[in-house]
């Protein structure tokens, strides 16, 4: 089957292309750019961009399907222009062996979007025993993650990295130091609210360890969600030295700050916590200059019962796979970052880290595409979300830009 998406402004961060040009899709791949063949579908007035690749998505499957299933997350992703998602291992049970990797990948088939998975770094994510990284990789795991808690034992982390380096596996480690972790960003605001604060310096400490271990072991390490400005220089310096380190942040941390927890708004309680405005601005600059490689949604569905609790007791996280495109286009529309810079961190850069040929509009690449109305104004209503859980800090926010259609392998989803 051949068709042409005609008249759209094509935005491709991989090539830097930003022009109105027709794109031909044939048998699920991009067959030509600048030609018009087959059925012509008029998408003029819209932007055509690579579908987003979201490297950090949690569901409740297996174990807590009332929060979110893989299928419901995939439907939400398709609605949000996300064509590839990487599931995190923090389910019940934890995705820590090949049969569980196979299970979630099988459940992700025929869900419309590409469903990939991370395997756990340690058994049960308990931070004590290494998992079968090689077997899980053979079964299809694209990366290996520690979930929300860093592997505290530096000796174990070193051996995991050494071992994983033999498989060229990507290791995701959250920049967390248990003795300093807390529920809010440390500062005058959290102090006034009477909430325990986590200093931004915590991330610098954890990054320093993981960078040193990456250098020692030769492993590829992803600093899994940077939120503090203090973490950025150590990452940039390590990259300049040639260490195989990369970093991610979340769309939430680019759009919100500590004040959004306002009067104990637990829907804005995230891990890591929302930080100060100067952290947010530093993160935006780091995405633009490439210090931060990847922007994720950190999609974390939580039923309202786990959120409607006193702040310190409430669950962390927000759903996001459906909203991250609109939050990104809103940030661009408001002049906080260029569209191309933020798109790069959600398309080609995650594709490169994961070794995927998606994430670009190039001849031969899979036709994973998002058609976006960049100027559409709308107001986010959490009840209108597709996810089974509705926990979003963006409820009631004005957005600019909305996904009109999503294609995965040339098929509208």
């Amino acid at each position: 089957m051949t068709f042409t998406l005609s008249g759209a402004r094509v935005l491709d961060p991989a090539s830097g292309r930003d022009e109105i040009v027709d794109v031909v899709v044939e048998d699920g791949v991009i067959a030509a750019i600048g030609e018009t063949r087959g059925e012509v579908r008029d998408v003029s007035g819209y932007a055509l961009m690579p579908g987003l690749i979201d490297m950090r998505v949690s569901t409740g499957e297996p174990g807590e399907e009332h929060r979110e299933t893989i299928a419901s997350a995939a439907t939400a992703a398709a609605k949000g222009g996300v064509t590839t998602l990487v599931l995190g291992p923090q389910t019940l049970p934890v995705i820590d062996d090949q049969s569980l990797v196979e299970f979630v990948l099988r459940r992700g088939e025929a869900c419309g979007v590409n469903v990939l998975t991370a395997g756990a770094l340690t058994r049960g994510l308990k931070g004590r025993k290494m998992t079968e990284i090689g077997l899980m990789q053979e079964a299809g795991a694209v990366m290996f993650a520690a979930g929300s808690e860093a592997v505290a034992d530096a000796g174990l982390m070193r051996r995991i990295m050494q071992y994983a380096a033999g498989f060229d596996a990507l290791i995701a480690s959250p920049p967390e130091e248990p003795g300093l972790a807390a529920v809010a960003h440390e500062g005058a605001f959290a102090s006034r609210l009477g909430l325990h604060g986590e200093p931004g310096a915590m991330e610098a400490i954890a990054v320093a360890r993981d960078v040193a271990l990456a250098e020692l072991s030769g492993a590829r390490v992803l600093v899994d969600i940077v939120s503090a400005k203090e973490a950025l220089n150590p990452i940039a310096e390590a990259k300049a030295r040639g260490v195989a380190v990369s970093a991610s942040t979340t769309i939430n941390h680019l759009a919100l700050n500590e004040l959004d927890i306002g009067d104990y708004r637990t829907f804005a309680k995230l891990d890591p916590p929302l930080r100060a405005e100067d952290d947010r601005l530093a993160l935006l600059a780091a995405v633009a200059d490439g210090t931060i490689d990847v922007v994720v949604s950190d999609h974390t569905p939580q039923p309202s019962g786990r959120k409607r609790l006193p702040f310190a007791e409430a669950a962390n996280g927000a759903v996001g796979v459906e909203l991250m495109m609109s939050v990104a286009t809103s940030l661009a529309a408001d002049g906080h970052i260029t569209l191309m810079d933020i798109l790069a961190a959600m398309t080609v850069r995650p594709a490169e880290l994961l070794g995927l040929d998606a994430g670009r509009i190039a001849v031969g690449a899979p036709a994973d595409l998002a058609v976006v109305d960049l100027n559409a104004p709308w107001v986010c209503d959490s009840e209108g979300l597709t996810s089974l859980s509705k926990n979003t800090p963006f409820d009631g926010r004005r957005m600019t830009g909305r996904v009109v259609r999503t294609f995965v392998g040339g098929v509208a989803v």
Partner: protein, 317 residues
């Protein structure tokens, strides 16, 4: 104010608040109104029964004999029916959430819910789910607005004017909701507020609260009219914040020598309960010439009467 005056001050003041969650939700005129009410009830021998027929529920998730009884007495003196829920031992232990408890209580239609909880923000959460008034009787490390009000009332009765006075709040400020509420209220009333304590017990960012911060008593207490000591909250200290009670008392406990750094005739306050020999010596605590500690307890009942009256008769009730 003579004890024979039974008329409540400024009865036409438009008090529009339904809840008392933190000091910062009130304006300066609100505070002046509340303090005037507190002063009135402190003097009134037979207070008006303005809460006759009202139901006040004490919901204390943290044990506190003095605050609970102070509220109970205040409500009873105004003619209210008072119920104390012993939630520490009831359904909460069976896994009922805070909002379940709120819904259950709300069905009993209390007019005022007095809440103490160990989690910051818990009364604010409750206030979204109940139809009556919520009074925060202390939440985690966040706020204790009635303590700040009664401290201000005590000082106003003793000193007349609070504006321009130099007041040092000393000790475990990091874990203290009393300190936070007092900083908010005393700065609103125009006092020059100082925080004095070891760096581990000064909250992050406290220098942005409009106060001066000192790490030693000698410079911190210099020229102070009032020295407010705080309880060292050993139960909230998950980690080590100070090496020992002995060392803490040596450097930060208030004794005769350290009180000498303050202005001659300086007054001493403590929200209680005291750790004698840890943050304050018995010698100071029991000296009626300098200690306002007993007056604070006395003013506590009057101030809470004033607040209950304001909330129950106000336009939002």
């Amino acid at each position: 104010m003579p004890a024979t005056t039974f008329s409540v001050p400024t009865p036409d003041y438009p008090f529009t608040h339904r809840h008392c969650l933190s000091v910062l939700r009130f304006t300066r005129p609100d505070i002046d109104y509340l303090l005037a009410l507190g002063a009135h009830f402190a003097e009134a021998d037979t207070p008006e029964q303005t809460l006759a027929g009202a139901t006040v529920v004490n919901l204390f998730f943290e044990n506190s004999t003095r605050t609970e009884k102070s509220f109970e007495l205040a409500a009873k003196r105004l003619g209210a029916d008072v119920i104390s829920m012993n939630v520490g031992t009831s359904s909460v232990k069976k896994g009922e959430t805070l909002l379940d408890t709120a819904a259950t209580l709300n069905a009993m239609a209390p007019d005022v819910l007095v809440v103490r909880h160990n989690a910051s923000g818990a009364p604010a959460l409750l206030s979204q789910k109940v139809t009556g008034s919520v009074i925060n009787a202390g939440d985690g490390m966040h706020a204790h607005p009635t303590q700040a009000l009664l401290d201000a009332l005590t000082l106003r009765m003793k000193l007349g004017e609070i504006g321009g006075k130099r007041i040092a709040i000393c000790g475990d400020i990091a874990h203290s909701r009393v300190a936070r509420s007092n900083v908010e209220l005393l700065t609103m009333l125009g006092a020059e507020v100082r925080l004095v304590g070891p760096p581990t017990l000064i909250p992050a960012g406290a220098r942005d609260w409009g106060v001066e911060v000192f790490e030693d008593m000698e410079t911190g207490l210099a020229g102070c009219d009032v020295v407010m000591m705080l309880r060292l909250q050993l139960e909230r200290m998950g980690g080590a914040f100070v090496p020992s009670k002995r060392e803490y008392f040596h450097f930060h406990g208030l004794d005769r020598r350290k009180l000498g750094f303050a202005k001659p005739g300086a007054l001493v306050m403590h929200p209680g309960p005291m750790n004698r020999g840890v943050e304050i010596s018995s010698d100071i605590a029991d000296d009626p010439e300098v200690s306002l500690i007993t007056a604070q307890v006395e003013m506590g009942v009057a101030m809470r009467m004033g607040l209950l009256h304001a909330l129950y008769t106000g336009s939002a009730a």
